[in-house]
Point group: C2
């Protein structure tokens, strides 16, 4: 039986691609219009996939704003995706057939060098999304139009194939995604048997708060820290998200170590919860 | 002699207001179109003022992106401003004269409750900025139009006065601004004689980096941490900004404590600099 996964839409974009790398053909993918709606989809669906951070643009603020108030759902995994644009054509088309390239304007901009070197006389035309470009090419009866899109699009629309993979100008563009499950139980085969990461959400009890003291109390290796304003609180009171990682020495005791760390934070008067273990 | 201050424009907005609270009449204010251009204005001007974080929306990403590459300029101060909209009219106008309210659409939206309670039959009209609304009212020969804007606008345009101060629906909306100077010397009276805050910029030397270890090495109280992707580096390598604060016990030794902390970070193989002391 397939699981139901909510993804930031439209389908065919990189969040869909990331979800597909994780769940493959074992899931039905349900698009949502915003990150908040994708996180809320956990109320009715089994999983949700949202972008967490991009290697150039940094943390995704909307995702962390959603995680501030996350009740249902636990982060159960992570996928890192190389943002890789493909030149997608009707099956059988050769590069010499192409005289028009269509895509979202950002993708066109990110592949400017490829287009000028390999398709110097082609015209370019904007579409509302990269997936919309793929759909347009799929419906055409001619071979002269190519779409720039993610490779997942060739599984969504008929009669398409990838002519060239990885045509973006910048090669170091990665996005990291969170995979969230409805509850802490998870369902095989998606739950990690040996988790090595946890995300601890801490709301300090007061403004005059020392992060150095907090990390002493946490007493775990801390890989990343994000902060967002605490909602409906005093101004400039923050919620902190600590991504903690297990030491290589005692991986089997890791979930207990996280639980003990959270108890220590609470005993010092702060609010703390684990919102992910993967 | 007046100092030259670069502020995120247009003049009349809250960054201008914050700069004015700090420098008062001792400065000439020079508008810049972007945060990056405001930081770059330090090459020719004496000071620059940029927003650092808002109590609802969080850290200002463009400011921290600029601080990643800041060469000239040191943060020499901070101003916290309550975002407070005023109802501004032609001198002599009473609330019963007003049948039209003009402002930037965000400010109109943030004062919806005041308008519906106190000016229920007034029409509203959008302008490109809050300052543009004030300028329009200033030029009118009639008393029936009011602008919603920051109070600095009545010093910029003639024949205006504040009819009501603090008309925004939400009362807890603060923005914190950085005051940057051209060099570490500063100029009296703007330099703090007894600094209590510093901003340390740390670029870790490697990916497998432990923030808990870093804060042990720093060995100072840490009030806030921000992170942004390190430019032109491996993906997901971050630059960290640590706002450290002095302990109340030995305030006079504080600048030395910061210097020693930075040396310790460097001795552990990371890049570190103080980009602010205030």
């Amino acid at each position: 039986m397939k699981v139901d996964v909510g993804v930031l839409g439209p389908l065919g974009t990189y969040t869909h691609q990331a979800a597909h790398e994780y769940f493959q053909a074992s899931a039905i993918y349900n698009e949502r219009q915003t990150i908040a709606a994708t996180l809320e989809s956990l109320e009715t669906l089994d999983y949700a996939v949202v972008p967490r951070e991009n290697s150039i643009f940094g943390s995704v603020v909307e995702t962390f704003d959603g995680l501030r108030v996350l009740k249902q759902g636990l982060i159960q995994g992570e996928v890192v995706l190389k943002i890789q644009h493909c030149l997608v054509v009707k099956k059988g088309a050769k590069i010499s057939d192409i005289d028009c390239v269509i895509s979202h304007e950002q993708a066109l901009g990110q592949c400017r060098r490829f287009i000028s070197e390999h398709l110097p006389s082609a015209t370019t035309s904007k579409t509302t999304s990269t997936a919309a470009a793929a759909e347009t090419v799929s419906k055409l009866q001619k071979l002269n139009v190519a779409a720039i899109c993610s490779k997942i699009c060739i599984t969504m629309f008929e009669d398409l194939e990838i002519l060239v993979d990885g045509i973006q100008d910048e090669d170091i563009n990665y996005t990291r995604f969170f995979i969230l499950g409805k509850d802490s139980e998870g369902r095989p085969p998606f739950k990690s048997l040996r988790p090595t990461h946890a995300l601890i959400r801490v709301t300090p009890s007061k403004m005059c708060f020392d992060l150095a003291e907090l990390l002493k109390i946490v007493d775990l290796s801390v890989k990343r820290i994000d902060r967002r304003p605490a909602p409906a609180s005093d101004p400039f009171l923050d919620i902190y998200f600590l991504e903690v990682v297990s030491s290589p020495h005692n991986p089997s005791e890791w979930p207990e170590q996280v639980s003990h760390s959270i108890l220590r934070i609470r005993n010092n008067g702060h609010f703390a919860e684990s919102i992910g273990l993967w």
